[in-house]
Amino acid sequence: MMVWDTLRKFLGFTGLAVLIAYGGMTGITGSLSLDTDTAFAQTGGNVPGNSLGNTSDSDFWRQVRRGAAGTVSIPDKKAGILVQDQGDNWRAIRNGPISVIGGWAMLASLLAIAAFFAFRGRIRIDSGFSGWTVERFSFLERFTHWLTASSFIVLALTGLNLLYGKYVLMPIIGQETFAALTYWGKVSHNYIGFAFIIGLVLMFTVWVRDNLASREDLTWIAALGGFFGARNHPPAKKFNFGQKMVFWMVILGGGSSAISGLALIFPYQITPFGETFAFLNIFGFGLPTQLSVLQEVQFSQMWHAITALALIIVIFGHIYIGTLGMEGALGAVTTGQVDENWAREHHNLWLAEMESSSEATDGTERQQPAE
């Protein structure tokens, strides 16, 4: 009996081991008969053998994955591209370098302004208020400034929300509030952009003549704008070199941002990047010129963000020097009046022009007292 029991157990274990080994081998070879024939590669999209569904669409789907375009009869032609894989690159650049470098650059500019304020303090009127004022900006100039400035502030806040709100605001105000805020912010952004564009056109028309380069600019640059050290006031006409730089950055940067913004709102009508790249290729850049609508939109979005972030940084400095940074400057864009001593220290050549023209017209030396 002992012998039978031992033999039965041995056969049982052996049989089980053979079954497991067979199962493993069939799984590996894919053949019940343990056929070890060499596997054949697919040819022409057909899987070799007699398997069901032997046509492979891998090449087809690979092309779809890489942005192959089909045709559609619906108005939204973008639907012809099922997977637009340049979107991966766009997303990586938007959420990577643009957001990260932009965020650090804004923070660095604010820290630089704070450091400058700590070092220099508020730039005072060295000779004090005279009590006499002179009209710095006319009604139209101030109107233009605030049309552009107020629309820019809304655009900047709603735009920054699109880029950083998910990380900064959403954890504080919650998802639902953030979603509503972002939706209405985006709508406001699209529509108030037109006010900004009109403001830019007006601003260019009103101020371009005073923002052309002049000899005094070199003196201003050599004196570092008089920012370092009291009683250091390089001569300037209506606008000094620093103000001219702000003007041209607003006109060119804001204008460029506006064009890319319009391209985002009207993606089929305004496609600036193909032509821009073709122009740049004259200088050997080798950029792609045959861009799909979606690629145009992606380039527009990235350029819109870059120019807007740069402009925001410039405007940080502009707001600082016009308010906290310099005594007596804010009145220029609120009431239009600035103190005569302020004008003499910061824009002496302009004041001299104003005084001479005032004397020539009505014989009065000053326009009106301050209070």
């Binding site: 529509y191 037109f194 979005q301």
Partner: protein
């Protein structure tokens, strides 16, 4: 200060006007310009 407030008010009026124009444009053409930019 009037110029400042008028400038801000004009910005709002232009924005509302742009919204109306684009809204009418969307409604008459069947296109949705103002939402296309979200479809990257």
């Amino acid at each position: 200060m009037k110029a400042m407030w008028l400038g801000m008010l004009t910005a709002v009026v232009i924005a509302i006007g742009a919204g109306l124009v684009l809204g009418v444009f969307d409604a008459t053409t069947g296109q949705v310009f103002s939402s296309q930019s979200t479809r990257l």
